[in-house]
Subunit: 226 residues, 2 copies
DNA sequence: GTCTATAGATTGATAGAC
DNA sequence: GTCTATCAATCTATAGAC
């Protein structure tokens, strides 16, 4: 009877169609990333997901609650990856009785972030979305995002303060803001530029490794500037 | 009866009320910056400006054309400032038969940009708006902005290539993107953060000089990293 | 140039049949 | 859980009186 129970809610045996909730989340993620939250209607989402208009409010309650689920679905696991790596950096520095290094600290945050883009289908749209979340003028998107990012940001900030004892906490804070700005700009634009804006000879869409190779030394040098 | 005529349309001698067009531009700038383009209705704009709803379409033709004027009104003079300073850097380097320095090149672009915020009332809203323009997901805002920024961006890029002969043009291009990301993040967030997000002891709204003192060395070191 | 009034389209959300 | 039908609110834009 386990089979019947599964169909209760309800996926047919041979049916490979993901369930409605997933389809809505996928469609919303894509459209919020590409068109913006306020510029995406529920009708556009349910059309893309090929589900009924009323399904959004049935499954999520409101457009805003849907946005929260779209963000949480991927950001919670991503934050776990970043937290694990940051804690490992701190642990290693304590064990070896030295300060954390700036480069390993920044990498612990940035590498999982940028590699996440390649990890699952749809994650690239998600990265555009969170790359833009901080710059949303309207509270709706920004507040939901900040709720989910706050604690990992402080962990990163504290580790950097530990790594850079000769630089004031205020300067470290703002340099970290500069770095977040650079990272989020890249997250939301790579692969989405209009080609016409590129000087000749510049690859408009470097892969993740190439981007890390350019980004990390840039950020490390900036953070360490005297 | 002169009173009646004044209300007719027409600005009287002693009337200090800016004309309708200005009032609409000011209101639109403020609301586009704080609420976003799609999240700002014409009713909100005409309400803030205390003019009639129909005035926007009479004076500007459409909401989109209004946005273009809001951006052009301040960006054209700002671009002139930046262009003049960049050309002066290039001229000085040619005269002294040396390469432009990275710091003076970046300053030529960044100082006018950040000081513009303090230059006139309303300019702070404008800086938030253009700080966010590049990250708009929707074409409307971004395309209008890119139209106005393209040529000055290339001038900056070429001068940097000239200043950094040992770094590949591709790397310079992306490092410039990182720098633009850092700058625009700061432009749109300074003074607009929620206070609760600040670690103790960090000034949530440094003035322009303090910010330049922190930002310029960060960007210079990043651009010059080997 | 300014105003009222409204057209015409679209929105988020919901009620109720199945 | 899914669907149709629709409400009530909102939007941009415009026509036409003054």
């Amino acid at each position: 009877m386990s089979q019947a129970e599964m169909d209760q809610s309800e996926i047919k045996k041979g049916d490979t169609r993901p369930d409605t909730k997933q389809r809505i989340l996928d469609a919303a993620e894509k459209l919020f990333a590409r068109e913006g939250f306020h510029n995406t209607s529920l009708r556009a989402i349910t059309g893309e997901a090929e589900v009924n208009l009323a399904a959004v409010n049935y499954h999520f309650g409101s457009k805003e609650a849907l946005l929260d689920k779209v963000i949480a679905r991927r950001l919670l696991p991503l934050n776990e990856l970043r937290r694990t790596r940051l804690l490992r950096v701190r642990e290693a520095s304590r064990r070896e009785n030295r300060r954390p290094r700036v480069e390993e600290t920044l990498r612990a945050f940035i590498e999982p972030t940028m590699r996440f883009r390649d990890s699952e289908p749809g994650a690239d749209d998600f990265m555009s979305l969170i790359g833009r979340a901080l710059s949303e003028p309207d509270d709706t998107v920004r507040k939901i995002f900040i709720t989910h990012i706050k604690s990992i940001f402080y962990l990163l900030y504290e580790t950097l303060c530990n790594a850079l004892p000769d630089i004031s906490k205020e300067v470290i804070f703002w340099r970290l803001q500069f770095s977040i700005g650079a990272l989020s700009h890249i997250l939301r634009t790579v692969g989405r530029f209009e080609l016409s804006h590129f000087p000749e000879g510049v690859n408009p869409a470097p892969d993740t490794d190439a981007m890390l190779t350019m980004l990390v030394p840039y950020l490390v040098q900036g953070m360490e500037a005297h």
